[in-house]
């Protein structure tokens, strides 16, 4: 058991990489420093992503999902943010490339869709202007060609009567159309990675699924990698190849979408799954997770979920458990989980012998 938990071999290769993956994030930490306090938003996140794969990052508000995504584009204010670790995209190391190179990468290699289509489009420019602006920034083409491209993009994202919509201002479009326009802006320079920060959260349910299906289809057609942040597990099940569950700035469970969502091992993932509406009986109340997420300015010692975990024992409060990986690349960080027959197994009664505290 001790060998299996050896952090050095396991942490570095979350799912036994054979070829160099397209994106490799390793030990990423992001801290926001102000005079009053230091907020530890991301605390050692590592993951790999191959070309054409969709990684879904799930977690509740304030778990560091968006912060992690924005650091991939270096969108955080430089002065107040400390980013450590490594983020490699293709051949470029995001943490160390020059600002000029970063500007080139933004939009053309890495692109982002924002959550709120209301505020993510400039209210004073037409949709066509905004798409053309991005196209012209990265490719040396004239205005007419850029507008033609904008029209093609609106057709690509299935906006009805695209000629008219090109000349529309954002406030003249519905939420769903606006989000499609936002996607068109993000796709305008054929990025190889698309970051989607809860792109369907602000939309109503029927539009949500349309946008989701569209994104999945475009992602497959264009062979893009996609990192998709959401707190909607149904969305994750629809779109993800891999799922990462984040809690208090750490990935606590990671693996194939099927493994994580069908056979969750971490108590947090389990609790989250059982708190969603599925096919429970009508009279049965939903199970909510008691308590609130930890204060990121003062993280507890040990497992950050321990204060809310009903299985937590004394050993959980000592140190954050190291990642444990089974043969299928399913990773979990919980001291109550062990590997049995090549698969992860949650064992309520288990305590780590080396850290177990004897009752006094």
């Amino acid at each position: 058991m001790n060998e299996m938990r050896s952090p050095d071999t396991l942490a570095s290769e979350p799912h036994g990489a054979t070829v160099e993956p397209y994106v490799r994030v390793k030990d990423l930490t992001v801290r926001f420093v102000s005079r009053e306090a230091t907020v530890k938003a991301v605390n050692g996140v590592s993951f790999d992503l191959d070309k054409g794969q969709v990684l879904c990052v799930i977690g509740e508000s304030g778990s560091g999902k968006s912060v992690m995504m924005r650091s991939l584009l270096r969108l955080h204010p430089k002065k107040r943010t400390v980013i450590e670790g490594s983020m490699r995209v293709g051949a470029d190391e995001i943490t160390s490339v020059s600002d000029k190179k970063m500007s080139e990468l933004r939009g053309s290699t890495i692109s982002m869709i924002f959550q709120e289509p209301m505020t993510a489009l400039d209210p004073l420019y037409t949709i066509g202007d905004q798409i053309a602006e991005t196209v012209m920034r990265h490719e040396k083409i004239d205005r007419d060609a850029a507008w033609k491209r904008a029209l093609e993009l609106l057709e690509l994202v299935r906006v009805p009567s695209p000629e008219r919509r090109l000349k529309a201002f954002p406030h003249e479009l519905s939420g769903g159309l606006r989000q499609r326009a936002m996607i068109a802006v993000a796709l305008s320079c054929r990025p190889s990675i698309l970051l989607a920060d809860e792109p369907t959260t602000a939309l109503d349910a029927s539009v949500q699924i349309q946008v989701l299906v569209l994104l999945r289809k475009l992602q497959r057609e264009m062979g893009m990698s996609m990192i998709f942040v959401t707190h909607d597990l149904g969305v994750a099940a629809q779109i993800a190849d891999k799922v990462a569950v984040m809690y208090a700035g750490r990935i606590i469970e990671y693996g194939e979408a099927r493994d994580v969502l069908m056979h969750p091992q971490h108590p947090y993932t389990k609790a989250m799954l059982s708190s969603t509406v599925k096919d429970q009986d009508k009279g049965k109340p939903l199970e909510a997770i008691a308590g609130t997420p930890p204060d990121l300015r003062a993280l507890p010692d040990g497992c950050s979920f321990a204060p809310r975990c009903k299985y937590a024992g004394p050993d959980c409060k000592v140190a954050m458990p190291d990642p444990l990986i089974d043969g299928r690349g399913h990773m979990v960080r919980c001291s109550k989980v062990r590997v049995m027959g090549g698969l992860l197994m949650f064992d309520e009664g288990m305590a780590r012998p080396e850290t177990a505290l004897e009752p006094a």
Partner: protein
């Protein structure tokens, strides 16, 4: 069969279902579109244009020399002989003096606001966009000016600089910079926190291009609207300074100065005495209402 011409049956094609594709719409085009259906604003816009034109063409419009006095015809009522609007306490033609005075008063209303918008707006946008220490230095400096009531500040500056058109204009500019700077700073910090600024950065825009293409244009409308309300305040302040003897010196015609010198005659010729005041009133109301209409027309629903 043959008498039905080809193409008589309309076949809907995807290209024809949109609106006429000829016009490229711009933000200012849509502002004008909304302004077109606002009769009050349009009327007062016409009034402003009329006042400005009459000031510009004062040398040709004025029937007499505004500085030529006539002891025999002092304080004549409105419509007395050739004096269409009467005469003042030195027998000078009121109509001519009002037309000429409008030049100075309008200049005092518009130019200081223009300069203050450029200077204060620039400081405000920089303070709002960069935040932190830059913001603190700029905004606390503005707060020092804010600590004084604007009239008091104007009187203090004008008093120490002395009279004259240039000094008066300088005074008004200094007085108007802090409020415009404050408005620009607030608008900028609001715009900066909106997602489209991040979205522009995420699509590779540089700081400079974000500042000019996204931040500035979004800040422009609140700042312009606010500045246009200041035009009337500036006219009134300028008149006040002239009234106190801190602005232009006699015999130059200026609405504020005219009001000041005519006030002794208020019991003799109340109507004539009121004329410069009415001119100030109409001009400032017109500017206020137009800026109000402008605010509505520039308000884009987000």
């Amino acid at each position: 069969m043959t008498d039905i011409p080809a193409g008589a049956i309309p076949v809907p094609t995807p290209a024809t279902q949109g609106a006429p594709a000829s016009k490229v719409r711009s933000y200012w085009g849509s502002v004008w579109n909304r302004l077109r259906y606002d009769p009050v604003t349009l009327f007062f816009l016409a009034v402003i244009i009329l006042i400005v034109l009459s000031a510009i063409f004062a040398p040709w419009l004025a029937p007499m020399d505004p500085e030529k006095s006539s002891m025999a015809n002092r304080l004549r009522p409105i419509g007395y002989k050739k004096y269409l609007l009467g005469t003042d306490e030195q027998g000078r033609d009121m109509l001519s003096r009002l037309l000429w005075g409008g030049r100075i008063s309008l200049m005092m209303g518009i130019l200081p606001v223009l300069f203050a918008t450029l200077i204060g707006g620039a400081f405000g946008v920089v303070a709002g966009y960069y935040g932190g220490k830059v913001n603190m230095v700029i905004m606390r400096t503005m707060d020092i000016f804010f600590a004084f009531p604007s009239v008091l500040l104007a009187v203090a500056i004008a008093g120490s600089l002395g009279g004259g058109i240039f000094n008066q204009m300088l005074t008004l500019t200094v007085v108007l910079i802090p409020p415009i700077c404050r408005v620009a700073e607030t608008a900028t910090s609001q715009v900066r926190s909106l997602d489209f600024v991040d979205a522009a950065r995420a699509s590779g825009a540089s700081t400079v291009s974000i500042l000019f293409t996204h931040v500035l244009i979004n800040v422009l409308s609140p700042v312009l609207v606010y500045s246009s309300t200041l035009v009337s305040i500036s006219i009134i302040l300028a008149s006040g300074l002239s009234f106190l003897g801190l602005g232009v010196s006699p015999p130059t015609a200026d609405w504020g100065l005219m009001l000041s010198t005519l006030r002794q005659a208020i019991y003799v010729q109340p109507l004539v005495t009121a004329l410069p005041g009415i001119a100030i009133l109409i001009t400032s109301i017109a500017f206020n209402l137009v800026s109000d209409g402008l605010r509505q027309a520039m308000d884009v629903k987000t």
